[in-house]
């Protein structure tokens, strides 16, 4: 059977991998010797900064060493890095169009690349699966990824290790595409670990800075806890189903639940373990703590990995496993509650942060909570829809903040900004669009996806009024802190330090063009998934829901059911309410940060305990440190001294001494006398024969 372009699906992950190989060769053979030579000359690259910004110790957009004449290899790297992702995007686009040309029930394409592991009854081929869900994911990953690669060219232009940077970024793209394109859980896990590795490498990209390397380690360790759950869930899945392939597992679900092999208990255990993995990767309570610290990485990385793509892997995994999650009401409830709680919890922290990237980080955690809330109430389509729109506007917000930081020579503290509107017109305009989108202003992408989630939280059989209320409140807080960010950064009088103010400049085209494209997507990206209520007015069908229907058949059914029975007036009413809440948030932000700018301080002072509590992120890090990290460290110290040093080492040393002694004695047999050797041969033969005769 001829599949046309789909036969080239393997190119989608292969192209970024090619980028890794090419850039890797450049990094190893061209860049590294150069950097080593420079280090040997004692020219560390600091202190010669044209901006003198290293004192801020924050995201300083590169080693900002005075790049002499840019070496030829830098241009090559800056071409290869984005080009391979552009290629992957083109192939993805053509593949998805080819898939769309098929009948809806036939939209599943599996390409077996090679048999990977075969051991006994276990087999895991390296196979790619393109279906409506993975289509959405690869388009987001390669599309947004490409824009961020382009942006990085400008942003990292002062960075010395630019080849190393693009190796990691390409490697990330490859791993992420493996994650979403794999046709079985094991391949998903490979991608899952791969993106984790790249995240670690990129958070700690400026590893000479202690806070960066610490943040990298924190992300890695916290994610290990989640991965542990994923692994156990996968083992249990294999134990129950005897296979890890998506199509086989989901096809077996009805049969196994009918014959009693797959009880609700087992389904709950599998899905909760998988969800534990998702809370790690997607930064949900209780494992969200690594994501805010991950902002130590370069800003484009924050945009790509820690906002638009990698952190949504958990949502993808839950949505992919929807057939399993729907079997267990308990798991669904856990997902919904964790999502809602994370959404409101981190939104409140976002109010009190002053670091522009940290506000966005908590905002990301909060928005991911929305996506899980959607999945938890059975509205998987809405969750994936929000995943997509969020990728647009959150990537834009991060890139915009990067542009601000770039302009201010590395300054990230919003208290030292203000009045940037006139210096950075493009950055301001695009970021303002994204802010409107995330706040849920009607007509922009964020409105459609957020409204869909809130409506489903209310009306779905899995939903409740309480979930809706929490979601709506979180939406109001989101609007508030986002407008706080915009007002503090772009409006009012300048609070910049004088030497910083002198250098303020709008970013180069390689950075502003991606901003503008993302701004367009932030506006129109939601129009393909208009809710029936609004779509009917304009005679626009909900393409997005129809597209994903083959994957979420059962889920969408349940959710749509609830929707049908609800009166139209109620839906309009709820929509109006959530918009009103958002407008209140904006109004409040306007009042506090534009009109009566001294009030926020007064409010904070009037409730010092509460303010401290929230601004210190509810002391969660400290609590984890006290009750978990300290315990483990102390326990390990005890184990080391009492158990390891005394018992294990003693035993090991004893055995080692015995082994060495035996070896020594055996060694002496090796005398070097030839006659003895020849005799030993005959002796050996005689002993063998003798033994068998005596037996």
């Amino acid at each position: 059977m001829v599949n046309g372009i789909l036969d080239y699906l393997w190119l989608v992950p292969a192209l970024p991998l090619l980028g890794v190989v090419l850039n890797g060769a450049i990094a190893l053979f061209a860049e590294r010797p150069l950097l080593l030579a420079e280090a040997a000359r004692g020219d560390g690259g600091h202190g010669t900064s044209p901006h003198g910004a290293s004192s801020h110790g924050a995201d300083t957009h590169g080693g900002h060493g005075d790049s002499h004449a840019p070496a030829a290899y830098r241009k090559l790297v800056a071409f290869i890095g984005p080009a391979v992702v552009a290629g992957a995007f083109l192939v993805s686009l053509l593949s998805v169009l080819a898939l769309a040309a098929r009948a809806p029930h036939d939209r599943l394409f599996v390409q077996v690349l090679f048999p990977w592991i075969q051991a006994g009854g276990f087999s895991a081929p390296a196979a790619l699966q393109l279906d409506p869900l993975s289509s959405v994911m690869i388009l987001v990953v390669t599309g947004v990824g490409f824009l961020i690669h382009v942006y990085s060219v400008g942003y990292m232009s002062h960075e010395k290790a630019v080849a190393r940077y693009f190796v990691y970024l390409n490697l990330f793209t490859f791993a992420m595409l493996t994650l979403v394109l794999g046709d079985n859980y094991l391949l998903m896990f490979v991608g899952w670990e791969g993106v984790g590795l790249c995240s670690y490498l990129l958070i700690g990209f400026w590893y000479e800075k202690k806070s960066a390397s610490d943040a990298g380690k924190k992300a890695f360790i916290v994610n290990r806890i989640g991965d542990f759950g994923f692994l156990l869930g996968m083992f249990l899945l294999f134990w129950t189903f005897g296979t890890l392939s998506y199509t086989e597992v989901f096809a077996k679900v009805p049969l196994l639940s009918a014959n009693g092999t797959l009880t609700t208990g087992i389904a709950t255990a599998i899905t909760l373990l998988l969800f534990l993995g998702a809370t790690g990767k997607s930064a949900q309570i209780p494992l969200y703590v690594w994501l805010p610290d991950a902002m130590e990485g370069p800003t484009p990385v924050s945009a790509l990995i820690h906002a638009a793509t990698m952190v949504t892997a958990g949502v993808y995994m839950v949505a992919r496993s929807n057939a399993l999650f729907l079997l267990s009401p308990v798991s669904m409830a856990v997902v919904a509650v964790v999502g809602a709680a994370t959404a409101i919890f981190s939104a409140t922290i976002g109010i009190t942060q002053n670091d522009i990237k940290r506000v966005l980080a908590y905002s990301t955690v909060s928005q991911l909570g929305y996506m899980f809330l959607a999945c938890g109430v059975g509205a998987f389509t809405a969750g994936i829809f929000h995943l997509m729109t969020h990728a647009f506007f959150k990537a834009l917000l991060f890139l915009g903040s990067g542009s601000v930081i770039h302009a201010l020579s590395g300054e990230q503290d919003m208290r030292k900004m203000g009045g940037l509107k006139k210096y950075l017109p493009i950055t301001f305009a695009t970021m303002f669009v994204a802010t409107l989108a995330i706040a849920g202003i009607p007509g922009l992408s964020g409105f459609f996806s957020k409204d869909e989630i809130l409506w489903q939280a209310f009306s779905s059989p899995h939903g409740s009024v309480l979930l809706w209320a929490i979601g709506a409140l979180a939406a109001g807080i989101t609007a508030f802190y986002m407008f706080r960010l915009v007002f503090l950064t772009f409006f009012g009088a300048s609070r910049m330090e004088p030497q910083v103010e002198k250098h303020v400049h709008e970013s180069p085209f390689s950075m502003t063009v991606p901003l503008m494209l993302l701004a367009v997507l932030s506006i129109v990206g939601g129009w393909i998934g208009m809710p029936a209520l609004i779509g009917d007015l304009f005679h626009l069908p909900n393409h997005f829901e129809a597209w994903l229907a083959p994957v979420f058949g059962h889920g969408a059914e349940g959710a749509a059911h609830g929707a049908e029975h609800a009166p139209v007036a109620l839906e309009w009413g709820l929509m109006a309410a959530s918009v009103a809440v958002a407008l209140c948030g904006i109004a409040l932000a306007y009042a506090l940060y534009r009109v009566r700018t001294d009030t926020p301080k007064k409010i904070a002072d009037s409730v010092p305990g509460l303010y401290d509590w929230v601004s210190h992120k509810y002391y969660v890090d400290e609590i984890y440190d006290l009750f978990i990290v300290r315990r483990i460290v102390n326990g390990s110290i005890w184990l080391w001294q009492a158990f390891d040093a005394a018992f294990i080492d003693g035993a090991v040393n004893g055995i080692a001494a015995t082994v060495r002694g035996a070896g020594d004695r055996l060694r002496r047999v090796q005398t070097g006398v030839v006659g003895g050797y020849a005799f030993s041969l005959l002796l050996g033969a005689i002993v063998i024969v003798g033994y068998f005769l005596a037996r």
Partner: protein, 492 residues
């Protein structure tokens, strides 16, 4: 039906290619003015490369018997021919980079090397006692010369001398065993011998003969207690030769061991399942004990070595012990595990020896203490060596782990648990001495800090050895499939 002599020639092209290259090399040696030129190395590369290509192109299906039953052409033989040719190619490259060998007459050296290769080709396909004996000697005699190739070095001469004495004794015992077999059955064809013995024969003489033959093969694979020659020879010989001896002839030794014992004393069931012993010689326990003894002695003695080359020599004894685990099981899967392990072993062991050569080129030393700080002096070589050593230990995700998994899995599946336990304990011991080198390289301060230059070409070759060592640890499917096919075709 065996093919006649003339009809066989067209199936014998790889051997002919090697032979022609040897003759050309002799001519070069006589005619050539410059004895040190690398022309002979390049000629050998071309010859062996051609042989490898011809081997790969050769149709091994259906299996045929050539030269009136002297040698077999089957998947098993093709596998070993390809393996030994590949090892020879790597060793030729190593020899070109070796400081020990530079300045010596080149053509002679490659004549010996390729003669051993020809011997290995024949040894892995021989199906007649006479052919088998001749090819074993064709492997051995040039090996003696290679071991003593550094005429000016005392240890090299000593190595050669010991090798000759020990090898002569072993082959004497072996041919005695052959004569007993001939006396018992009246034929030199091993398939015929197997059929004759299946009808039931006197157990004691047969057993004596089996042990005597085992001595000869055990000497070739350096199994305990027939291993005494190997540490001294491995240490004294030029390092490329040591690397070659520890991989090539050892692999050929396994080929002939499997072919001879399975054909003569056992018979396969038709469906490709386990074999059954068809004669009173129950050699499985014998070889299980040899396997355990081989790995244990090899590892225990390696622990105390202070010379890297000698350490690797002992460790290669231990690896023969691991591979013997697959031999005792009487299953195709066991043989498949051996074949797979040999492929992995080729890359990791040659790679480790290659780093030893490169380091010795710079430091003139093979002592572990001189590896201190290699991580900063020659990071590329040090990291490569670490990869090879961890692979040799059998740590995931390196290929050595997968190789061991297949060997262990088969032993456990057949219920020989004690052997699996012994092998696991041995792996722990081996971790100690392999990791010690890594520790010295990366954690100890060097006496001399100067960078140790590794030229571009050796770097590339190291990459070519390290990449399969890593890759076969995560994606080994094609190699295991080739190994499985080679077992199935084992035909006589």
């Amino acid at each position: 039906m065996p093919l006649g002599n003339l009809a066989s020639v067209s199936r014998f092209l790889p051997e002919l290619a090697v032979t022609a290259t040897i003759l050309l090399l002799v001519a070069v040696h006589v005619v050539g003015k410059n004895r040190q030129s690398s022309a002979s190395a390049l000629l050998s590369l071309a010859g062996v490369g051609a042989a490898l290509l011809l081997t790969a192109l050769q149709p091994s299906m259906p299996a045929v018997s050539l030269f009136e039953g002297m040698v077999a052409l089957d998947g098993f033989a093709v596998f070993f021919k390809a393996l030994t040719a590949l090892a020879t190619i790597v060793v030729i490259f190593m020899s070109m980079d070796s400081a020990e060998l530079s300045g010596k007459s080149q053509a002679e050296y490659y004549v010996f090397l390729l003669s051993v290769l020809l011997g290995m080709f024949l040894l892995s396909s021989a199906t007649d006692l006479v052919m088998l004996y001749l090819s074993l000697e064709l492997v051995s005699i040039p090996s003696y010369l290679l071991a003593g190739y550094l005429k000016g070095r005392k240890s090299s001469n000593e190595a050669s001398m010991k090798y000759v004495v020990y090898g002569a004794t072993a082959s004497g015992v072996m041919i005695y065993g052959f004569s007993l077999l001939y006396g018992l059955t009246g034929t030199t064809q091993i398939a015929e011998i197997g059929r004759a013995l299946a009808t039931g024969k006197a157990a004691l003489p047969l057993f004596l003969a089996a042990v005597m033959v085992a001595v000869g093969f055990g000497y070739k694979i350096a199994a305990v207690p027939f291993h005494m020659w190997s540490p001294d020879v491995y240490e004294g010989a030029p390092t490329p030769v040591t690397a070659f001896l520890s991989v090539g002839p050892k692999a050929a030794g396994f080929a002939v061991l499997v072919r001879f014992f399975y054909t003569v004393f056992a018979s396969p069931d038709g469906a490709g399942g386990p074999w059954t012993l068809s004669s009173p010689v129950d050699w499985t326990l014998l070889f299980a004990v040899l396997s355990a003894a081989t790995m244990t002695v090899g590892n225990l003695v390696a622990v105390n070595q202070k010379n890297v080359k000698r350490l690797l020599a002992y460790s290669s004894i231990a690896h023969a012990g691991y591979m013997l685990m697959g031999f005792v099981l009487l299953t195709p899967a066991g043989i498949q595990a051996i074949l797979f392990y040999l492929v992995v072993y080729l890359f990791m062991n040659l790679g480790a020896f290659y780093v030893v050569i490169l380091v010795a080129n710079g430091t003139r030393s093979e002592d572990i203490s001189d590896y201190a700080g290699l991580g900063s002096r020659a990071p590329f070589a040090a990291v490569s060596l670490a990869i090879f050593l961890f692979a040799l230990t059998g740590i995931p995700p390196f290929s050595g782990f997968i190789g061991k998994v297949y060997l262990f899995a088969e032993v456990i599946n057949r219920g020989v648990y004690w052997l699996a336990v012994v092998a696991a304990l041995n792996s722990v011991v081996s971790l100690y001495y392999y990791a010690r080198i890594v520790k010295v390289m990366f954690l100890e301060e060097p006496a001399e800090k100067a960078e140790l230059a590794v030229p571009a070409f050796p770097r590339a070759l190291l990459c070519l050895l390290a990449v399969p060592t890593l890759l076969l640890g995560v994606y080994w499917e094609p190699v295991i499939r080739v190994a499985a096919n080679s077992v199935r075709l084992l035909a006589f």
